[in-house]
C-alpha cells in the first residue's frame, strides 16, 4: 500500500488512491524500512558489495562489523550485520539493525531475550547503540545465526521441503511458538514463508525469524493478512490475536506448498478484491495449485471467520491424521445485486466498506440519499445493518453548523457498519484499533503528522467501532478503557497531553521524539537524563529542557504521578510555576533513575532557575538561593537544586511573612494617606480643641484666682 499517497489523500481528499505503487525499500537511512517485498529486497541485497574491512563497534556484549553485511539474515525491513559475541566463544551471532523511525515491540523483546524457544530464532540480546550508517542511535537486536539459512532463498525460490514433511518440519515448530506466545497473551504477527529459517543444515525443522523489530504485521505481505486487517495501513495492522497468526500460518503453508507466494502476480488491490469476493481460501485455490495434502489445513487456517478458523486442536488432529470438522470456504454474504460506488460494483459489505474508504468523497451521496441502506435491506437482506445505517443518517440530520464534519463522520461510521471487524478508516487513515499507537508513530515519524489520528479520536470514531463489536471480549474491553484515556489526552492542549501522550502511552517502545534528544533513541525513562545531559552541551540559552514530547514521555514512563507538575505547566506565562514544574519533573526522574551527576543539565537548569527563585519574596532568601545555585549545579544534582527552591517550610514562612509585610505596608500607606489628606479637618479640629482648651484654661484660672483670694483672706 502506498503510504505516501494515503497521507496525501487525507490532506487533499483526492479520489481513487492507487495502492499499487510499492514503496522502494531501503534501510540505509532511517525511515527506509517500508514494508518490503522480501524477494525484491533480497535481490537488491545480492547486488551489494560485502566489504570485509575492519570497521566495527562494540555494543554491549557484542562486536558488530558495520561493513560486513549479512543479507542472507535480513529480516523484514531490517538489515543484518556480522557480529561476535564477546562473552561466549561458541555459537554464531548476528546483529539486526532496526529502523529508528519504526517502533519495536517491547513485550516481545522482553519475553524472547535470552530465552530459547523451539521454533523461534534465538534473540540473544537487544541494545540501543549509535549506528554510524544512520548517524544516530537505534535499537540493535542480536540473534543466534540459524544453522540452515533462509527457507526462501534470495532468488525468491524455495529450498525444497517435502510436502509430507511440512507437518513435522513447519507446522509443529510454528505451532509451538504460537502456543508459547499465546500463553503469554502475545502474538507473533510475522509468520510468513520468507521469515522462516532452517534450524539445521540438513533442512530439518524450521524456525521463525524476528517478530520484534517493527510494528506487528508491518512486514507481512498483504496476502498474509486476514480480510479484517488487510485494509489497514501496514503500520496500523495491530497486535491482533492468535487467530491472525494462525491465518498467516495457513498462508505460509500455502506458499511453501506451491513454491511461491500466493497471488504474487496481483496488486494489493486485486488481492483484496479477490479475497473479499471469493474468500481467502477460494482466492488462493482458484489461482494456485495446492497439493492435495495441504488443502485441508490451508482451508481450515485461511477461513475468514475467526470463529470457524482452525485452532491448535484442529491442527493437532490434522497432525495426528484425524479428520476435522469441515469449514466453510467463504462466509461472506453476497448480495443479489451490486452497489455501485464511483463506477465500481460491490457485492459484499466488506468490499463495499473498502470501496467507500477508497472513494471517500463520492461515497457520501449514495450513503446520504439512502441508496446503500436500501441495498443493504433489499439487495443483501441485512435489516440490522440497514437499521444501523438509517440511524447514522438520522444523526447527520441533527448535525449543527459543522455539516462537513458530520458528513465525514457518517462516511466513517458507514464503513464500520459495513465492516465492523475491519480497521477504523477516516479520510485516508486506516488502522485497527489495536494498531492506533503504531499507526500514530508511523504518521508522526514519516511526515503525515498526528492530525489524522487526532481527527479520528476527536470525532469519536473508535467509540462507534466499540459499539459495533458483538459479544464480550476482554481485549475489546481493555482497548475501550485505553481509548477513554486517549480522548482525555487529545482534548487537553497543554504540555504532557495531546497526541504525544497518546503516542507514548500506546507504544511502549516508542523512543522520545523531542527534537533535542530524538537522535539518542530514548526508550526507557532511565535514558532520558543522560540524553538531556548530552543535549545540554549545545543547547541555546532560552530553550527549556522539557518540551511537549519530554513532558508526555515522563508522564507516561515515570512510575510517579506528575499530574501536579503538568497542571502547573498549563500556563507557561506563569514563569515561576512553569520553571518549578519542569525542575521538579527532572528532579523526580533523577531521584528515581539517576545518574547522580548531571553537570551540563544542572547548569542548564540553573540558568532557567531565575524565575523559580522568584518563588521567594524575601530578597535575603533569594540572594541566598542565588548564591547556592551555582554551587549545587557544579555538583550536578537536580534534586538538591529542586530542594533549594522547594523548601516547603521556608516557602511557607516566606509566604506568611510576605503576607504580613504586605498588610503592614498597606496599612502604613493608608495611614499616611489619611494623615496627608486630613489637613483641613485637622485645622478644624485644632480650632475646636484650641477654643475648648482656652475656655478650660480660662475657667481654671478663674477658679484658682478665687480660691487663692479666699485662702489669702482666711490666712
Amino acid at each position: 500500500m502506498n503510504i505516501g499517497t494515503m497521507a496525501e489523500q487525507a490532506e487533499d481528499q483526492k479520489q481513487d488512491v492507487s495502492n499499487d505503487a510499492g514503496q522502494k525499500p531501503e534501510m540505509d537511512k532511517p525511515g527506509g524500512g517500508a514494508p518490503v517485498d522480501e524477494t525484491a529486497d533480497a535481490k537488491a541485497n545480492r547486488e551489494e558489495e560485502i566489504s570485509t574491512g575492519g570497521k566495527n563497534l562494540e555494543i554491549g556484549n557484542f562486536r558488530v562489523f558495520t561493513d560486513l553485511r549479512l543479507p542472507e539474515f535480513d529480516m523484514g525491513h531490517c538489515k543484518a550485520y556480522a557480529a561476535d559475541n564477546l562473552r561466549r566463544s561458541e555459537g554464531n551471532a548476528f546483529a539486526l539493525v532496526t529502523d529508528p523511525v519504526l517502533p519495536t515491540r517491547y513485550d516481545l523483546i522482553k519475553f524472547l531475550s535470552g530465552v530459547h524457544m523451539a521454533g523461534q530464532i534465538d534473540l540473544l540480546d537487544s541494545a540501543i547503540a549509535h549506528w554510524p550508517i544512520f548517524g544516530r542511535k537505534t535499537m540493535v537486536l542480536f540473534f543466534e545465526k540459524p544453522k540452515g539459512g533462509h527457507v526462501i532463498v534470495s532468488s525468491g525460490k524455495q529450498r525444497s521441503i517435502n510436502e509430507q514433511d511440512i507437518a513435522a518440519s513447519v507446522v509443529e515448530p510454528l505451532m509451538n511458538v504460537l502456543q508459547a506466545l499465546g500463553e503469554k497473551g502475545l502474538t507473533h504477527r510475522a509468520v510468513r514463508a520468507t521469515n522462516l529459517f532452517f534450524g539445521d543444515p540438513e533442512g530439518g525443522k524450521v524456525i521463525l525469524g524476528d517478530c520484534a523489530s517493527g510494528p506487528p504485521g508491518y512486514d507481512q505481505p498483504l496476502v498474509y493478512e486476514t480480510t479484517a486487517r488487510m485494509a489497514a495501513d501496514p503500520a496500523g495492522r495491530g497486535v491482533g490475536t492468535l487467530s491472525d497468526d494462525l491465518y498467516a500460518l495457513g498462508m505460509t503453508l500455502a506458499e511453501l506448498a506451491i513454491g511461491r507466494r500466493p497471488l504474487a502476480n496481483m496488486t494489493d488491490q486485486e488481492i483484496m478484491d479477490i479475497k473479499l469476493s471469493k474468500g481467502s481460501f477460494q482466492a488462493i485455490a482458484s489461482q494456485e495449485k495446492l497439493p492435495l495434502i495441504m488443502i485441508e489445513p490451508v482451508r481450515g487456517l485461511l477461513c475468514d471467520d475467526p470463529e470457524e478458523r482452525w485452532g491448535f486442536a484442529e491442527l493437532h488432529a490434522w497432525l495426528d491424521g484425524r479428520r476435522t470438522k469441515p469449514v466453510q470456504g467463504n462466509t461472506e454474504k453476497r448480495a443479489a445485486r451490486s452497489q455501485n460506488i464511483s463506477g465500481k460494483d460491490y457485492y459484499t459489505v466488506r468490499a463495499l466498506a473498502q470501496g467507500v474508504a477508497k472513494n471517500w468523497v463520492n461515497a457520501l451521496t449514495p450513503l446520504r440519499d439512502g441508496t446503500v441502506e436500501i441495498w443493504l435491506r433489499r439487495g443483501l437482506g441485512d435489516n440490522d445493518r440497514a437499521k444501523a445505517m438509517a440511524d447514522a443518517m438520522r444523526q447527520l440530520q441533527w448535525a449543527g453548523a459543522d455539516k462537513r464534519s458530520a458528513e465525514e463522520v457518517l462516511v466513517a461510521r458507514s464503513i464500520l457498519i459495513l465492516d465492523p471487524s475491519g480497521p477504523v478508516r477516516y479520510k485516508g487513515f486506516s488502522a485497527m484499533v489495536d494498531g492506533f499507537g503504531n499507526m500514530l508513530s508511523y504518521d508522526v515519524q514519516h511526515g503525515s503528522g498526528p492530525q489524522r489520528f487526532s481527527d479520528v479520536i476527536v470525532r469519536d470514531i473508535p467509540a462507534f467501532w466499540f459499539g459495533r463489536q458483538e459479544g464480550y471480549s476482554p481485549e475489546v474491553q481493555r482497548l475501550q478503557s485505553a481509548y477513554k484515556n486517549l480522548r482525555y489526552y487529545i482534548q487537553q492542549k497543554s504540555a504532557g497531553y495531546g497526541y504525544e501522550r497518546c503516542l507514548y502511552s500506546m507504544v511502549r517502545n516508542q523512543h522520545c521524539l523531542s527534537p533535542m534528544i530524538e537522535q539518542e533513541y530514548v526508550v526507557d525513562i532511565a535514558q532520558l537524563l543522560p540524553a538531556l545531559e548530552k543535549a545540554a552541551e549545545n543547547v541555546s540559552d532560552d530553550a527549556w529542557p522539557v518540551d511537549r514530547h519530554i513532558a508526555a514521555f515522563i508522564a507516561t514512563r515515570l512510575e510517579d504521578d506528575v499530574e501536579g507538575q503538568l497542571m502547573a505547566m498549563q500556563n507557561p506565562s506563569d514563569e515561576v510555576e512553569y520553571s518549578r514544574a519542569i525542575i521538579s519533573m527532572l528532579a523526580v526522574v533523577q531521584w528515581r533513575h539517576g545518574p547522580d551527576n548531571l553537570q551540563n543539565l544542572s547548569h542548564w537548569v540553573a540558568r532557567l532557575m531565575e524565575p523559580a527563585v522568584k518563588v521567594f519574596h524575601s530578597k535575603a532568601r533569594r540572594e541566598r538561593v542565588e548564591t547556592e545555585i551555582p554551587k549545587l549545579a557544579k555538583r550536578g544534582n537536580l534534586v538538591e537544586l529542586y530542594n533549594l527552591i522547594n523548601d516547603e517550610q521556608e516557602r511557607r514562612k516566606d509566604q506568611s511573612e510576605f503576607v504580613e509585610a504586605v498588610a503592614e505596608y498597606s496599612e502604613a500607606e493608608s495611614e499616611v494617606f489619611d494623615l496627608e489628606s486630613s489637613g483641613p479637618a485637622r485645622l478644624e479640629m485644632a480650632e475646636k480643641v484650641g477654643q475648648q482648651a482656652a475656655a478650660f484654661a480660662s475657667t481654671m484660672i478663674a477658679l484658682l484666682t478665687v480660691s487663692a483670694l479666699f485662702l489669702m483672706h482666711i490666712f
Partner: protein, 157 residues
C-alpha cells in the same frame, strides 16, 4: 432632632433668666457688689451678647479671666465694712482697677485667639512625625521584600 434642638434653647433661656434673677436679687440685696460686678464684667457681658458660637467659647474665655480680674476688688469691697455705693463707685473707677479688670478680659480674648493655632501646630507636627515614621517603615519593608511587595500591594489594590 427637634427635641435635641429645643433642649439647649430651653436651657439657655433658663440660664439667661437665672442670671437676670440673680442680678435683680443682687441689685436688691448688695447694690455695691452689683455695681462692681456690672462694671467690671462689662467685657464678659459684651462677649456673651456677641458670641453666638456653640458653647460660647470666646465668652467663656473672656469671662474666666475677666472674673479673675474683678474678684480681688469684690473681695476688697466685702472686706470694707460700709459696703456703700460711693465706695464701690470710687473703687471701680480707679484707672488701675479698670485696667486690671478689662486687661484680664483682654487676656482671655487673646487666649481664645492664640490657642487654636497652637493646637493646630502641635497636631501638624505630630502628624508629620507619624508620616515620617511610617515612610521609614515602608522603606524598610521594601528593602526586605523588594519590588514584589509593591507589585503585590498594587495587585491587591
Amino acid at each position: 432632632m427637634a427635641a435635641r434642638g429645643r433642649k439647649p434653647k430651653g436651657r439657655s433661656a433658663f440660664s439667661g433668666l437665672s442670671v437676670i434673677a440673680s442680678a435683680v436679687l443682687l441689685f436688691m440685696v448688695a447694690l455695691p457688689t452689683f455695681i462692681t460686678l456690672t462694671v467690671g464684667l462689662l467685657p464678659s457681658l459684651v462677649a456673651f451678647i456677641f458670641d453666638r458660637s456653640p458653647g460660647r467659647m470666646m465668652a467663656r474665655c473672656v469671662f474666666g479671666l475677666n472674673f479673675s480680674g474683678v474678684a480681688p476688688y469684690i473681695l476688697e469691697l466685702w472686706q470694707d465694712g460700709a459696703q456703700t455705693v460711693g465706695g464701690a463707685t470710687q473703687q471701680i473707677f480707679q484707672p488701675l482697677a479698670l485696667s486690671i479688670m478689662y486687661g484680664a478680659a483682654g487676656l482671655g480674648w487673646l487666649l481664645y485667639l492664640a490657642m487654636p493655632p497652637i493646637v493646630a501646630n502641635v497636631l501638624n507636627l505630630s502628624a508629620q512625625r507619624r508620616v515620617a515614621e511610617l515612610r521609614k517603615n515602608q522603606r524598610g519593608l521594601i528593602k526586605t521584600w523588594g519590588d514584589s511587595l509593591i507589585k503585590e500591594v498594587d495587585r491587591s489594590g
